[in-house]
Amino acid sequence: MRTILHLFVSLKTAVTIICVLTVLSMLGTFVPQSLEAYQYLERYPSIGHWILALGFDDMYHSLAFQACLWFLSVSTLVCILTRWKSTSRKLFSRLQFVTEKEIKAFEMGMILPKLLTETALARFPQKKELPGSVVIALRTSGKSSLLGGMFIHIGFLMILAGGLLGLFYGVEMAVRGRVGEKVPVPELSVVRAARDADRISRTARNIRHFSPDAPILDKYRQEVEALHKAYVDGLASPAFYVEFNNLWVDNHLDERGQVKGIKSWNSAISFVADGETLASGVTMVNQPVSFRDYSFFQASWSKSYRRIVVRVDLLKDNPEWESFVAAGATFPIIVDFEIEKPRSFSWTPLQMVMQDFMPDFRIIDGRFISVSQELNNPAARIVAYDHKGSVAGRAWAFPDDRVMSPSHVSNLPFIFTFVGAEPEFESGLQMAYDPGKPMVWAGCLIFTLGLIMGFYIAYREEWLMIMPNGRILIAITGNRPAESFRQNLQALAAELNEEKNNDQETIKA
């Protein structure tokens, strides 16, 4: 037991654990985290199985990392308890336990050449007479510094404890919505069920990769099924809904009113239950909104275009045009589409679908992609179906200023020209509940206080020892390198000498 205690108290143990934690943390940033098992085996054929076996695919929840944290926590706790005795002695009964030998051994000390008077001795609030008629006196400053280390270690433990609470009982969930949408938010227990199901599924997938017939997989499957059912049931009767009332973007503008960049993404949301609005607010980055157990943070933002307006012109070069155009139709016609939503028109028997819309399209490596969500170079792809549901033709719609051969952009007797698109925002909110946060913040506060007390306040002991032969020893020590007290020692000597001179002058007078 004593050996174990020594192991935990030892500074060398603490340094070793800190070093191991450092190395593991570094590895965690170089090994990609939370990929699927097959991805590790593909990317790292020689060490992939080691990464999975050691749990380094989820480094900060791995057994090795958690064990180090636990070990460090226990070591810190033992250190606090064992150090309290010596700290409390220094704080409350320093004079009681000091010895003559100890004072003489202080690195920063000197013998005063002249005798000291009683008035100088009175400057020291604590005095004591040792055996052999030795008188010692003590003056201290910066006692709070002694508690700095304690506070740092207690704060550290509280932060870890808060983190642990968050790990077990906290949840995070993404909520996404467009204007007018109501997104259900389930009860905490339901979100936890989903979180646990994800964790177990991941573990099961990793195990299955190495041994597909492992008996534990059945147990995991049952657990996941039960949790999934709880989640589905919970989602059917949510605690409340988040309603997205308005989404808008504020921009930085230059002197000419041109947009320089995005200033803020804003989501006006309401919390609705049983058809009644219970609360509402505006979230933006760095400005969360809280409701019941959850806090909502502006986490992501996307812009899409659901309604696209195009102009349709008739191409009479196409020999089959008469079979595609309804009698009496006049062109050009302005029509609007919603992405992937089939539309029928009075001017054609064909049914048309806008399959794809790219606001800033480019051809890169033979692929059509949009490089941004801004309307810099829009392109829309339209597919027409006949009454049997077969594809009758395809066409691209570009803005007016793109000069292209009609046969290149359409094999229908129509030319589609892009007129405009209404942007539609989708807001992504991070919904979080973490019961450990208050403890973490309290820990941070104590930790910070400890840092200030321990590093910026110096503890100093000024000792005075009067020997039976009348010789005077003064010494200074504290929790700083001895060299840093040299000036203080000179100052103390000067203070006492001045006192003596004053006394002599008083006697002469």
Binding site: L11, S25, M284, N286, F455
Partner: protein
């Protein structure tokens, strides 16, 4: 006047200050030391003026991208070096901080100096507190690094027959003294190749090679050769311009003890508070967060090792050097090499 010009002026003063500090050491002239102090003071004033001008024109503190971060850190380092040696002349430390500041502005010139409005994530008063406090802490770590380098340098100058220093310690000191310039050159070459592969930085990567890497390597090489050639003379006058091992060790501790709380509170705790406000969680094991934690752990190890009997001296000096390398990786390496939530600060 453009603030880039002001920073160039401060670079010139840092360079002149370094030359004067070197001259004051080699010629043993106190008046040259005083001139060097004035020169570095002017450099600090001009860099601070440049930062103020940039703050005024951008409307936010100049700590929002790589260019601003490097210039700001360079100024903090120069100020820290100036104040740290206010009561006690330490020409090697001050010369080192002048070179460090000079290099940082040189590297900063590779990145875009264009003033851009703050992105939504950075629009918070926590930006001021989190980044500036962490930078002050890092400037103190840089001082500790220079002092530790001086410690190692001092140790290899101790006569071989001195019993106090073991062979292992001497080898360790030698590898730090000779290895760090090589490590720096290697790191800079990696940055050069990284920037070269980035379409925006192809032209600027040549500036890094010819403006920073080659002159620095040349200078370091010349200094090393001169040190070796005149080792006898240097050894004789060591006591005059290089404090004792004990004093250097204490000064290193002081620099770390000053920077550690600032970095921990500014970089980690304020970072946690801000992350909680912006992302809904105070800790997410993002690479930048993790490397800030690693920096904290390395300096925590330093402080614990220093209390452990028999482990201080060269070992703590090496830990201090390692701590600064980790700090630099946290500050720049993560932004450039690892994808993270802090990537907006990358270029």
């Amino acid at each position: 006047m453009n603030e880039t010009l002001v920073f160039t002026i401060s670079m010139v003063f840092y360079l002149l200050a370094f030359v004067m500090f070197s001259a004051s050491i080699s010629l043993d002239r106190n008046n040259l030391y005083k001139i060097a102090r004035y020169l570095i003071g002017i450099g600090i004033i001009s860099a601070s003026t440049g930062l103020g001008m940039r703050w005024y024109s951008a409307g936010h503190p100049p700590i929002s991208n790589m260019y601003e971060s490097l210039v700001c850190l360079s100024t903090f380092l120069a100020i820290a070096g100036f104040l740290f040696s206010y009561n006690r002349p330490l020409p090697m430390l001050e010369g080192g901080s002048a070179v460090g500041s000079l290099l940082m502005i040189g590297i900063a010139s590779l990145f875009s100096s264009e003033i851009r409005p703050l992105i939504p994530a950075l629009q918070s008063y926590w930006l001021h507190l989190h980044v500036s406090l962490a930078f002050v802490g890092e400037a103190c770590f840089a001082l500790a690094f220079i002092l530790s380098y001086m410690y190692c340098f001092r140790q290899i100058l101790v006569p071989r027959n001195a019993e106090l220093i073991s062979f292992k310690e001497r080898i360790l000191a030698l590898s730090v003294v000779a290895g760090l310039p090589v490590f720096f050159a290697g790191g800079m070459m990696l940055l050069y190749f990284h920037l070269k592969s980035h379409p925006v930085f192809i032209e600027r990567s040549s500036a890094l090679l010819y403006g920073v890497i080659l002159p620095t390597c040349l200078m370091a090489g010349i200094l090393m050769v001169l040190t070796y050639l005149f080792r006898g003379a240097i050894g004789e006058k060591t006591e005059k311009w290089l404090p004792s091992l004990q004093v250097l060790d204490n000064l290193t501790y002081r620099a770390i003890a000053l920077g550690y709380p600032l970095f921990t509170v500014g970089g980690l705790i304020f970072g946690m508070v801000w992350a909680n406000k912006a992302w809904g969680r105070y800790w997410g094991w993002d690479p930048k967060e993790t490397w800030a934690l690693i920096t904290f752990l390395v300096y925590s190890a330093y402080l614990h090792v220093r209390l452990t009997r028999g482990w201080n001296g060269i070992w703590t000096a090496c830990l201090s050097v390692l701590g600064f390398i980790v700090t630099m990786f946290t500050l720049f390496g993560v932004n450039l090499l690892v994808s993270s939530l802090h990537s907006y600060a990358g270029y």
